[in-house]
């Protein structure tokens, strides 16, 4: 049974670039275009891994080490994700705290690599990135608190394995509220509209995109792959929370999980197509709003 536990991380490592392709396809559909093939990111990664790299003279070892650090953090995070009742390979009480802080370490490395280039564009992106991250972390932890309050404090795998249809009957509102809150965080952390535009490269709109301007070749391949892994991690958290896996037979859980992730990706694509990007000053309000959603969930849990 232990080997089965590695199936989800393996699925994450193999399938995550596909998910970004799905989002792009959905956005193209809304725009009336045909769009790139869903396998496009695989082609890009393959092409980039074969290129040579170009480094800026202003940089030091920080930008050379950063892609490895970021990929290591994300890989370790995928090892901590459960799916339904199937446990993650790495699980212990409080592992969700480690997950949040590993994401923080990845962000720290990215920001430092951006400052390493000595470019004011990247400094701008880094500055905005740390601002939004500082506001997004409490929101994530408040959502975590609702989970802990409802399911008891244990490893992530144990906490979500009990979500079933009965849970939806009794406390469906909680799951929806925290799910919405974490979905907003997904949009913020993965640089999706309405927080950030992943397609443009103007300094007015960039937060994450601008920090990777000076990567090339295999480094850039690592960074793109990490972006897809990060999207998978957040989507997996939302799917684990919202889908009542406990009520399904074990064999059905894996396909339903994957379908869930695809559905989240489609939802992200729809949201990106419908909404416009917010002004930068509005984004702290959005993050505060997602924190308040978790607070409301807490209140409902306490009062009802």
């Amino acid at each position: 049974m232990k080997i089965m536990y590695w199936a989800l991380p393996l699925a994450a490592w193999v399938l995550s670039p596909l998910m970004l392709g799905i989002i792009n396809r959905v956005k193209a559909f809304f725009a009336g275009r045909r769009g790139p093939p869903v396998w496009q990111l695989y082609y890009d990664l393959f092409k980039l891994l074969q290129k040579a790299s170009v480094y800026s003279k202003s940089t030091s070892m920080v930008i050379r080490v950063a892609p490895s650090v970021v990929l290591a953090c994300m890989a370790l995070c995928t090892l901590m994700l459960p799916w339904g009742e199937l446990q993650a390979p790495v699980t212990f009480v409080g592992d969700i705290i480690l997950l949040a802080y590993l994401l923080g370490l990845a962000r720290f490395a990215t920001v430092l690599a951006a400052l390493d280039t000595g470019s004011s564009f990247e400094g701008m992106g880094a500055s905005r990135e740390v601002q939004f991250a500082a506001l997004a972390e409490p929101s994530f932890f408040l959502g975590m608190l609702v989970l802990v309050l409802h399911f008891g404090f244990s490893g992530l795998s144990d906490m979500v394995s009990g979500i079933s249809l009965e849970t939806w009957h009794t406390s469906g509102v909680l799951l929806i509220l925290v799910g919405c809150s974490w979905f907003v965080l997904l949009l913020a952390e993965n640089s999706r509209i309405p927080v950030d535009d992943p397609n443009t490269h103007l300094e007015l709109t960039m937060i994450h995109e601008v920090m990777v301007l000076d990567y090339s070749g295999p480094d850039f391949a690592f960074i793109l792959y990490v972006a897809s892994l990060k999207m998978w991690i957040f989507a997996a958290l939302v799917v684990n929370l919202v889908v009542p896996m406990h009520s399904l037979t074990p064999w059905l859980q894996a396909p339903v999980f994957l379908l869930g992730i695809v559905f989240v990706m489609v939802l992200v694509g729809v949201v990106e197509s419908i909404l416009a990007r917010l002004r930068l000053q509005q984004i702290p309000k959005v993050l505060l709003g997602s924190a308040i959603l978790s607070l409301i969930a807490l209140i409902v849990r306490l009062m009802g």
Partner: protein, 222 residues
Amino acid sequence: MTIISVLLILSCLLLLGSSRLHVAIRVVAAQGILLGVLPLIRAVGDIHYGIWILGLSTIISKGILLPWLMTVCVRLSGIRREIEPFVGFGPSLLCGTALLGLAVWITTRLQLTPAEAPLVLLTSSFFAIFVGLFLMVARRQAITQSLAYLVLENGVYGVGVCMSLDFPFIVELGILLDVFVGVFLMGNLLFHLDREFEHLDTDKLTELSDLSAPATAVEEHA
């Protein structure tokens, strides 16, 4: 009922954070409809025609009539957005969080059992009252202030529905009359303010006071 309470809280937060008047009016209309549906849900199994009339009249007056009046006012004066308020929109949200905590604290102090009153609904109603008061103080536009008055009234209504089921019809009529008079007066005021001063910033009403320099009031007229 939990869903209605959560939607009530979310609508109040939206009012705190948004600066566009059309959005605010629609949100208050939605609140009115939610609160109209509320006694029907509360009285499931025990519905008699009084409850139906109560619910329907609430929906019509708070959800349709008054918002329509507001929209007419807004269109007549041509205002689209809230001008820079005393408390910015981000800090308003933070204050909203604090007010939510206050509402929770008050509800727990009352020490009611869930059988007597649904606690989440009570919390959200108190929150609506506080948000209404806050918006009246913190915003400059007269229209927003009358909207805030409506929100306050929604909160009071919510508390009333929580506490008892057989709500005397007369009291409800009285409350509605209150609202009507309030809105009527405010509408009048808006119209006059607009005509005399060509803007609706209630903060500038201080210039009417004898204590301030009369020269500025003369300049405004000219």
